[in-house]
């Protein structure tokens, strides 16, 4: 062991040295009894690695997630044992469901105390087993550095995801030799067989109505140009899942936007009308497909995914291609015939007109001035292409998906798969710290209430975050379901809180404004976008704004709801939720 030219150091320092070796410049976390040694080493290495202290470990985990979504780097979060570790659980699960690379480091009680229900002892590897790509309980300091390296490798390989490393305190204090290594590379990706690519190309060439359907697996990779090139070449249209948002500019003429439960009308209808779906990094979740058995029955589906277990998981596909999505897509692009499909173009044109007609009618009929669409029009007008958009979960999130003009990839942080209310503020802090760019958090009064403690963090680090709090006094998305499917029995969704969000922002040391009209909103948002530090806008909207269109859960495209008339009631609760 003496042959290498390493340095003898303790486990805690090895943790920090290995993080630095792996290119980590920022970590998020919260100290505690069993990570004191790690924090001691962080203190000593503070000129080489930046630690962001949040108000709560959950906020730290979401911050690491937001940091990763914006940079593509592995997000790192540190927490102590017991409650510190369990507070990470929601953040880790959020990252898992959205395939976000993350390394979570937790301390634990010394190995001699493990299994004795010691103070703040918890089996966090057991708890996080189903929500991590892999996890480790390190018992030997000699294995610590390689374990951390492997964790990074796993987190960023193939379909990315979170990895947790639990390190007992005695492993942090034991010493061994540390030899500095290099940044680990991801595992190599399989190259798809030629015959599969040829079969896919054949199906595309034969098709009349091709629809390119992109998801999170495409959005995170640099393939925007190729997607556009294929759409041009085959005269096809592009739709996306929630996680696929921001991969393409909304203004791109062949892009129809998000499809699915709250997808845009033209995109969902085109998905249904297509005779060929080229699915790229999507997992056909229930929110995207509705009733999977009825999903796009007439279309042949080609699925490209890094994760082989995604092929045929939720819907049956004609051709499943695993391995590198980027290289498979490029090969398909090269081999496809250039072909005009004027009938498809005409059909999509009609769908778009219908979409516009529905939307115009809704705006026209709207009784209030502060409609979500008009608020987002102002946001779109004032933001620039570098503005990062983060959201929480609920109606505001779906309005963001429908109305925000995304201009470039990796400028969007939102919890898609897990649907974590309370995700947004932490993620916005992580995103803003990662990029230094202005971050707009779109949230609701329900979600914001879950983790608003992180306003303290946003103020401490003076992060440029504009919080658009869409305040309707109700849990709007649940209320919408209650209106449509539960006979307007508004069980526990009327918040009736007396919180003054302007004062709340001020109490935390941020700036707060209230906007009850579009003029006020415009003024406040313009001011916020120039403000140095966190800025909250209490944006008052009506409690009966709906997210439309909507496909009822378990339903299919035929059941699409495009308008709701509360007075001439078509909301008698008879549209019971389909199981």
């Amino acid at each position: 062991m003496q042959s290498k030219k390493g340095e003898i150091m303790n486990g805690a320092r090895i943790v920090i040295e290995t993080l630095i070796e792996q290119g980590v410049t920022d970590v998020f976390g919260y100290p505690g009894g069993q990570v004191l040694n790690i924090y001691d080493e962080l203190y000593k290495a503070s000129d080489r690695i930046n630690h962001v202290l949040t108000a709560h470990e959950q906020g730290a985990s979401h911050a690491a997630d937001g940091y990763s979504r914006v940079t593509g780097k592995v997000g790192v979060v540190i927490a102590t044992s017991g409650p510190g570790a369990t507070n990470l659980v929601t953040g880790i699960a959020t990252a898992m469901l959205d395939s976000i690379p993350m390394v979570a480091i937790t301390g634990n009680v010394p190995t001699s105390l493990i299994g004795r229900d010691s103070f703040q002892e918890i089996n966090i590897t057991g708890i996080t087993l189903p929500i991590t790509k892999h996890n480790y309980f390190v018992t030997d300091v000699n294995e610590l550095a390689d374990t951390i390296r492997e964790a990074f490798k796993i987190a960023k390989s193939g379909r990315p995801g979170p990895v947790l490393i639990d390190i007992p305190k005695d492993v942090q204090t034991s010493e061994c030799e540390f030899v500095k290594g290099g940044v680990v590379a991801p595992y190599p990706q399989l190259v798809a067989e030629d015959s599969l690519i040829d079969r896919a190309v054949e199906l595309i060439n034969e098709s009349e109505r091709p629809y390119i359907y992109i998801g999170g697996g495409a959005a995170g990779r640099a393939m925007t140009e190729d997607i556009m090139a294929l759409a041009e070449k085959i005269d096809g249209y592009i739709g996306c899942t929630f996680m696929g948002l921001s991969a393409l500019k909304n203004s791109y003429e062949r892009f129809l936007g998000m499809q699915g439960m709250h997808g845009r009308y033209a995109s969902s209808m085109a998905n249904k009308e297509a005779d060929l779906i080229l699915a790229v990094g999507v997992r056909f979740s229930d929110r995207a497909t509705g009733n999977a058995a009825k999903y796009s029955k007439s279309a042949k589906i080609i699925q490209l995914d890094t994760d082989l277990s995604e092929i045929n998981k939720n819907v049956h596909v004609e051709v499943g291609i695993t391995g590198s999505i980027v290289s498979s897509f490029k090969r398909i692009l090269e081999r496809c015939e250039k072909k005009e499909r004027p009938q498809w173009r005409a059909l999509v044109g009609e769908l778009r007109q219908e979409e516009k007609r529905i939307s115009d009618k809704a705006e026209e009929k709207s009784k209030t001035q502060m409609t979500p669409k008009r608020i987002f029009d102002i946001i779109n007008e004032i933001k620039d292409e570098n503005t990062i958009i983060a959201t929480d979960v609920g109606q505001h999130q779906m309005w963001t998906a429908q109305y925000v003009d995304f201009e470039r990839a990796r400028r969007f942080a939102s919890s898609g798969g897990l649907g974590t209310m309370g995700y947004g503020l932490g993620a916005a802090i992580g995103a803003a710290i990662a990029s230094g760019d202005r971050t707009v958090l779109i949230t609701g009064d329900g979600s914001f209430g879950m983790n608003l403690n992180e306003l303290a963090t946003a103020v401490s680090y003076n992060t440029p975050i504009v919080i658009v709090l869409m305040n309707n006094g109700v849990l709007g998305m649940v209320r919408q379901w209650q209106t449509l499917f539960y006979g307007k029995r508004y069980s526990n969704t009327v918040l009736a809180r007396k919180t003054d969000y302007v004062k709340l922002a001020e109490a935390f040391g941020a700036v707060g404004r209230r906007a009850s009209t579009l003029e006020e909103f415009r003024a406040a948002f313009s001011e916020g976008m120039k403000h140095d530090g966190p800025f909250l806008i209490d944006t008052i909207i009506g409690m009966d704004e709906f997210v439309l269109p909507m496909l009822p859960p378990g339903g299919s495209i035929e059941d699409i709801i495009t308008s709701v008339d509360l007075e001439n009631d078509n909301t008698d609760g008879t549209k019971e939720e389909k199981k």
Partner: protein, 169 residues
Amino acid sequence: MRSVISVYVDNKYGVLMRITNLFMRRGFNIDSLTVGETDDPLFSRITLTIKDDENVIEQLINQLKKLHNVRQVKLLQDASSVERELMLLKVKNTPENRNEIMVAAEIYRAKIVDYKPDAMCVEVTGEPNKIDAFIDVMKPLGIVEMCRTGVVALDRGSSIMEKTKDRYE
């Protein structure tokens, strides 16, 4: 469709839990699962049997392959593999049924491994349907208790399942 799947895994603490956790998480209902160290102590071999349709089996295999500690997964084909299971079965020993137990044991090539005036313990190995048949024979005689190991299986011939291969993702 009944399928037998062989899995090479790292012989490490907690690996079995990762496997069983996957079954619970994805709702796979496994009929039997056996696990033991291999000739190389770095690896264990798991044999599991499951009755379900083809899509489910494909999903199970693909999900197993994703686990970091899983090195190799193979679906064994009926025709080209050997399956065995072992059972210990304790049955009431009475003057009336003693003879029948001995005859059945001989026909099934079972061994009587314990003999007490009130009960006998029989060891029987074979394919699962042979074990089932033996249980049916013993049932009327009064089974006291029994346990089965679950299926172990290997491919016929000299073909070997590679324990490790380069990891791709």
